[in-house]
Symmetry: C2
Subunit: 156 residues, 2 copies
């Protein structure tokens, strides 16, 4: 088990269209599932199963990646905070798991996010994110969010 | 707002009874809510609102704290992985939040955890943790878990 059998090591061009930014060690993607507007996934560029096995420079770089991501979520989308989680549960559905380290980031909003004429509400603000929450935005709105975020990352 | 108004900066002796280990910058507590056996909370010893405002040495030390915690959960309790999250939502129920950085760690188990003659099941293994899950263990069993973990941390 390893790189060849890992879909996170072999992302398709379709997956990579949502790449917002990359550093030496990490990729920042806008998540497919926009349940919370701006939701991202930070993906380590190397196959590695857990925080425990990260190298020091990968851990240092992760701090930079978290900092720029949260700053941009606050400035561009008006997030009041970000929820961070490293869970990895899905990999363990298999008896022989092959986990690839990634981190979920959900921006959380006290005030609704405005995209064009539409408002998007974080109705659970102040509470745990709703893991069953439905996707809030259309494909076109996702393109708008991606464009705004990408422009902010490009300015770094 | 700051240290004086922060209950995480002013933990009681009753709270501190569950301290498993401390480093220069972080405290590791066994969580009150043992929904997943061995659940811990990592608490920064300084008042700070987010990862963004952590100092470099605090971030470095966090990696060490994560590493030892996951290693001990695997070795002592048989966890197959750990779920990590930094959410901070509760603080934002207030209009003037005063967040204090802390990280939740839930150990996850493919096989049941045995405490004495009782078995404890992670029936959601391979799936997101159940945020509504009830506490699984008695006060006496929590003491046993604390004792086992504390002994392992003491050996570091």
């Amino acid at each position: 088990m390893g790189i060849d059998e890992c879909e996170w090591c072999n992302l398709t061009a379709k997956d990579k269209q949502w790449l917002l930014y990359e550093t030496v060690f990490w990729d920042i993607y806008l998540a497919d599932k926009q349940d919370y507007v701006g939701r991202c996934i930070l993906v380590l560029k190397r196959h590695c199963d857990s925080f425990m096995h990260l190298e020091d420079d990968e851990w240092q770089d992760l701090k930079f990646v978290i900092d720029i991501t949260e700053k941009i979520m606050r400035e561009v989308l008006g997030a009041e905070l970000c929820n961070w989680s490293c869970l990895m549960n899905d990999f363990y559905k298999k008896s022989n798991p092959n986990p690839h380290l990634h981190i979920h980031m959900r921006p959380r909003y006290r005030k609704p996010v405005q995209l064009g004429q539409k408002l998007f509400y974080d109705s659970e603000f102040g509470h745990h994110y709703d893991n069953q929450k439905q996707v809030q935005i259309s494909a076109e709105e996702m393109e708008i969010v991606f464009g705004k975020l990408r422009a902010a990352f490009d300015k770094l």
